[in-house]
Amino acid sequence: MSAPGATIRRTVGLSRIPLPALAAASLVLVTTALVLVFFVAPTDINQGFSQRIFYFHVSLAFTAYACFVCGAWQALRHLWKRDPRADLQSYVCVHQGLIFGALVLLTGSIWAKISWGHWWVWGEDELVLFLILYLFYCAYFMLRFSVEPGTQRANLSAVYALFGVVLIPVSFAAIRLSKEFLHPRVFTLSGPNFGGWILVTYCVAQAALLVLAYTLYRLELAGKRLDLRLRELREVLA
């Protein structure tokens, strides 16, 4: 078993991977996942072909959660250690989480239309709670851009991002608390409700989307940092 310190060092080491290598890894993993989804994974007996949305829909949801958790972690680093880079990193994480969250809602709606005959079911706690979580993080941007850039904006954004992370376990637990049982329950306390090629395909899709999210995060962060430095340079030259 590795020490927590070693895990943190490994995570920090991720930032040393060059962006082109990450982009190539994302492309390979996403392509492999698509091949597995459409040509290898068996067709579900109950839901038929439409179940194939599951592989990306659930993976997108966990990726969005991971982005929000990462955003909260960076926010904590900003508040605790006053790391000057953490505020921008937290912002980019939340932005990524919103993009993946939008994809969860879109793919979920399409799946709902096939399975339930409706684009949206307001009676489903899981759906509504995810929408609340999504709207909560949309409001993060309203808050952030309504305050002048500086320490106050960074502090307010960090506190908001930290509060948002509390909604994630609530959103996840809503599946278990729901009485209707319309939304499929694929992960239980005893593990996933599937195995074989379905599990392999899901794991590859999940890995692909996590790597894709990290690649996009790095790309956006590089752009934002460059933008910031250019503004500072402009001010110096002005």
Partner: protein
Amino acid sequence: MSVAEKYVTAAYCVVFAVVLLYVVIMALKLQRLEREVDELAGRAPAEPEADEEREPAPVG
């Protein structure tokens, strides 16, 4: 193609389209930043080329 197949294809196309749109937006932004860097490099004062003009002299 069945209705389910059409919907599943649509779902994956939506994912692809959103990611592609995001990458295109980022690429456009990086292009803009590159133009700004060129503009700032043009405004910066040129460095003197004094080293080439100096004659070598023995040291020590």
